[in-house]
């Protein structure tokens, strides 16, 4: 099995075998993160630019650590410190960065699909999507799959409930794309104002009327953050009402299987989509997700460097 992509922009573009290869490599990378000398010389001499037009703690730090552990040189660009505030277009930024000969650009951008545009402007440079608008967040999808597989040893046949603001969630889309390819069954729940019409067409996906229906007998309960920054004001009355109907608490978690795992991509609004009892409870795998994030991103950086130009 070989990985032949120059870019990783969406899990939709990857085959089941390619996802399995990335997860297998991530498992091997994990060993590096637990030893005393957390560095291998693999990407020595490669330059990685982390271009983040939206704020991020976990993803940016995780990509930066992943690059450094593979011995690449990493540079971070954030909106406040970049020429974007002076009105430079993405196309001009791309051409200017290209002139500095980076090997990989990891970008987060508010516009869905902007990575395909960036890739068309930057031949010879690999593009990794760290989140684009409401489209995809492939590294989060992969690290979620790795975390689930660690727990159950498989992905096929699992019932995965995804609850919250599906419309605005790139995490949900990447997980739906990835998990349905791996044979999981997806059950979605959320306020009707936050449920994209036609989402069933993405594959093995069932839209549930209530949260209870979605998490009934689920193996995995994945909660999403309410994205105040992307929503208008009219999608939900208030946080308390949302929490009452779509918040995960110890009572409704009992509907899921006894050994069900609880996940959240972070950052968490405690008391809104999840009660603190669940966040800090035994079934929570939230910090395990973050830990796996570094290994998964190392695998992504490693494999795009080996990819042939498309």
């Amino acid at each position: 099995m070989e990985f032949k992509h120059k870019d990783i922009i969406a899990l939709r573009d990857l085959s089941k075998e390619e996802i399995e290869l990335l997860l297998a490599t991530a498992e091997s990378m994990r060993q590096i993160n637990s030893r005393d000398i957390k560095k291998v010389p693999t990407l020595r001499g490669k330059t990685i630019i982390n271009l983040f037009y939206e704020s991020s703690t976990r993803t940016r730090t995780s990509f930066e650590i992943a690059g450094k552990r593979l011995s690449a040189d990493t540079v971070n660009i954030t909106p406040s410190s970049s020429s974007a505030t002076k009105g430079e277009t993405l196309a001009d930024t791309a051409l200017n960065l290209l002139a500095m000969k980076p090997d990989i650009i990891v970008m987060r951008h508010a516009v869905s699909g902007s990575h395909y545009f960036l890739s068309s402007k930057m031949p010879g440079c690999s593009i990794i999507n760290a989140g684009d608008g409401t489209h995809e967040h492939p590294s989060q999808g992969l690290l979620d799959m790795l975390t689930i597989r660690d727990r159950f040893g498989r992905l096929d046949g699992l019932k995965v409930a995804i609850v919250g603001d599906i419309t605005h969630s790139r995490v949900a889309r990447s997980n739906i794309q990835g998990l349905t390819k791996m044979g999981s069954q997806i059950y979605l729940a959320g306020p009707p104002t936050m449920m994209p019409p036609g989402v069933e067409r993405l594959g093995n996906v069932t839209v549930c009327a209530t949260m209870q229906e979605a998490i009934q007998d689920a193996d995995v309960v994945m909660m999403l953050r309410i994205q105040q920054e992307r929503q208008g004001k009219t999608l939900m009355p208030n946080a308390r009402e949302y929490s009452r109907y779509f918040g995960l608490n110890p009572q409704n978690l009992k509907l899921a299987k006894p050994d069900a795992m609880v996940m959240h991509p972070g950052p968490i609004n405690r008391g809104v989509e999840m009660s603190s009892y669940v966040v800090d409870g035994d079934q929570s795998h939230i910090l395990k997700q973050v830990e796996n994030g570094v290994a998964v991103r190392m695998a992504m950086l490693y494999h795009v460097c080996g990819g042939e130009l498309e």
Binding site: E2, F3, L21, Q31, V40, P41, Y302, G306
Partner: protein
Amino acid sequence: MAGEKTVIMDNSGIKRAITRISHEILERNKGLTDVVLIGIRSGGALLAEEIGRVAEVIEGVKAPVGAVDITLYRDDVSGHLPHHAVGKTDIPFSLDGKRVVLVDDVLFTGRTIRAAMDAMMDHGRPACVQLAVLIDRGHRELPIRADFVGRNVPTSIKENVAVLFDDKNQPVEVVLEK
């Protein structure tokens, strides 16, 4: 001729070589105190297990056996990395102050051994490192030599030497492919 195969060491030959190498390791290190065996994936790791078993029969003590995957330490990745998955490095013990015997199936250019030594050094500081190989086929490109050799086989640089294993991971034979 492409695809022509000659068996240069049969099953009993391999067994005798491993037994001799095991004896030599014991003799050089005066037993198995502080000795650890580290095999290079994939062939060397299987041979390291085998040497560990034979040495245990002779000496009555079991040396720890680990495995190292060198994919991330290769020196030929500057342009394009290998696409395949990275194997697991499995060294569940400290190498500090240990007498490490590195095991590989075929010694050729020496670049694999260089990568394996780099990988190993990231796991600790051994007291010394010795190298055991089943076949030394020459054509070294780095100043590296083996301490324990099963057999020296003069080869042409175009030929390929492979140690074949069965589905139980037991060495079967060594073939020379022209």
